[in-house]
């Protein structure tokens, strides 16, 4: 069991309240996933020639200022950064692959949580209410956010095994369910050069998405392929730079409910997580169909 929640704002005037609206949604899913929680928030976009990296170090007193200085020297550019608990968000004018390669080479104990123009992935082991407090989610702004509360079944309760999983630039994935062919698929994807950090089944789904997108698939095509190649039970929510997508396996045992108003689209494992949203009483509420891809995205600004 796990809980998934997502909130995509159609009404830009609500962007300053994104975190505040999302906090009760994530906490409402504690019963479905009390062991870890995480979220991917999109906003505060960097310029086209820049990259935003979310990095994590086990030591809360890690010298982020020192790392930022080293990056400034290496890339001859200014690095904007701020720390949030064990995580730091760095913004710099550089190619994402080059910046990540530099970190792997020169700061190998730093974990890259996400990379893109807009995405920040924050996740930890613990009760959702504690994770929310740790990262001060209530104060965050943005255009959309997806989150996950985990009750581990297929692999250990660790930060690395918690969701969301990054699947490429500005992309991430959260999952409720379990995959049954993840071992074979992981082996195949490793041969194709996809790197895995854990034995987690969802990481394989994320790696699969990364692979398909590298092959030139659109998000829709990648998800169509996922419906063919992933065996097991799943409801996925996929965060993209401009919105999010929802897909359920053809059997659709894992729950999902979607609510839409003029102001937002929200999804959750259970309706309970949506009850605090403004105007939910009059929202269009429905259950996504099995093996059907739903995408909500805004055009590039």
């Amino acid at each position: 069991m796990c809980g998934i929640v997502g909130l995509y704002l159609k009404n830009e005037s609500l962007e300053s309240q994104l975190g505040q609206l999302f906090v009760p949604m994530l906490i409402a899913m504690t019963e479905r996933g009390p062991d870890s929680a995480g979220f991917a928030i999109y906003g505060d976009e960097v310029a086209d020639d820049s990259v935003k990296l979310t990095l994590r170090h086990e030591d809360e007193n890690y010298d982020w200022a020192g790392l930022a200085k080293r990056l400034e020297t290496a890339f001859s550019t200014k690095v904007d950064w701020f720390q949030n608990s064990k995580v730091a968000v760095l913004k710099l004018m550089a190619d994402a692959d080059d910046a990540i390669a530099y970190l792997h080479e020169n700061a190998h104990d730093v974990m890259v949580m996400s990379a893109g123009k807009s995405i920040e992935i924050l996740k930890e082991v613990g009760l959702p209410e504690n994770i929310v407090e740790m990262f001060k989610l209530g104060q965050m702004k943005g255009s959309h956010i997806i989150g996950h509360t985990r009750m581990a079944t297929e692999s250990a309760v660790t930060m690395a095994g918690s969701h969301p999983f990054s699947t490429g630039m500005d992309l991430c994935l959260v999952h409720n369910g379990s995959l049954s062919n993840h071992n074979r698929l992981r082996a195949e994807l490793k041969r194709e050069g996809i790197h895995f950090d854990t034995d987690n089944d969802t990481e394989v789904a994320a790696g699969y998405m990364t692979y398909r997108l590298q092959q030139g698939d659109s998000l829709n095509q990648a998800l169509e392929h996922a419906l063919q190649d992933l065996d097991g039970f799943y409801t996925f929510t996929i965060g993209t730079k401009n919105g999010f997508a929802v897909v359920r396996d053809p059997i659709a045992c894992k729950p999902a409910v979607i609510a839409e108003t003029d102001d937002y689209v929200a999804m959750a494992s259970e309706y309970q997580a949506l009850t605090t949203l403004p105007g939910i009483e009059n929202a269009k509420v429905w259950e996504p169909e099995p093996a059907t891809i739903y995408v909500w995205e805004r055009g590039d600004k």
């Binding site: 059997i251 659709a252 729950p255 259970e270 309706y271 309970q272 509420v285």
Partner: protein
């Protein structure tokens, strides 16, 4: 009428108060406020009560119901009226998967759409869905009627026993051993009666009937010695 406000009281308080009515009935009309999608609302009732749930319900609402008439003024989550014995459950909105699962008696009316596996393993209840039902509906259904005024998803009536299925719209596909059957006078009569009881205004002649071809392993007398 007694009102239970779930903004201030727990689901356990609600269900206990409703169960107490089985021993001594002191109040027949109940109203539940602020359900907010909570699970297990009004389960295990055993008395002629009228319960109005004013909002959306979570999982298993009205489960195991006996005699009570429960109305959800909103949508319901998985397993609404599961294992219902008698009485009725009416959902004004949509229902999620497994609506009326294993229900033995009573009437379940869903005024919107029902998700997958509607009426799975039903054992004698009547289920009327004004909208569509999802895939695998009536899987292994044993007795009762399933009436769908809209369309049915894939694998309708898979491994069916003796449920009478009536569908007005399209059936995406039939499950193993489920076939279209002739609509005889007795079926028009049965369907008319169920629609009338459900308060649904539809012409019974517009429906098609589906049932079991009785060709699967368990229907073959040659296999009886295996048990």
């Amino acid at each position: 009428m007694r009102t239970v406000d779930l903004a201030t009281q727990t689901v356990r308080d609600l269900n206990q108060a409703l169960h107490d009515q089985a021993k001594q009935c002191t109040e027949t009309e109940w109203e539940v406020l602020n359900p907010k999608g909570q699970h297990n609302l009004a389960v295990g009732l055993d008395q002629k009560l009228k319960v109005d749930i004013k909002g959306h319900a979570g999982y298993y609402c009205g489960g195991m119901n006996k005699e009570a008439d429960i109305v959800v003024h909103g949508s319901a989550g998985q397993g609404v009226a599961e294992n219902m014995m008698s009485g009725s459950v009416r959902v004004k909105g949509n229902a999620s998967s497994s609506a009326g699962a294993t229900s033995i008696g009573g009437l379940l009316v869903i005024e919107g759409d029902a998700g997958s596996r509607c009426g799975i393993s039903m054992k004698g209840s009547d289920i009327v869905v004004t909208g569509n039902v999802g895939h695998m509906s009536c899987f292994m259904g044993q007795a009762g009627t399933l009436v769908v005024c809209g369309d049915a998803g894939d694998a309708l009536g898979d491994s069916l026993y003796e449920v009478h299925i009536y569908v007005k719209g399209e059936v995406k596909s039939l499950g193993a051993d489920c076939i279209a059957k002739e609509m005889r006078d007795e079926h028009i009569e049965e369907l008319s009666e169920v629609l009338k009881r459900a308060g649904v205004d539809e012409d019974p002649h517009a429906f098609k009937r589906y049932g079991s071809a009785r060709q699967l392993y368990n229907f073959k007398v040659d296999n009886a010695s295996a048990y």
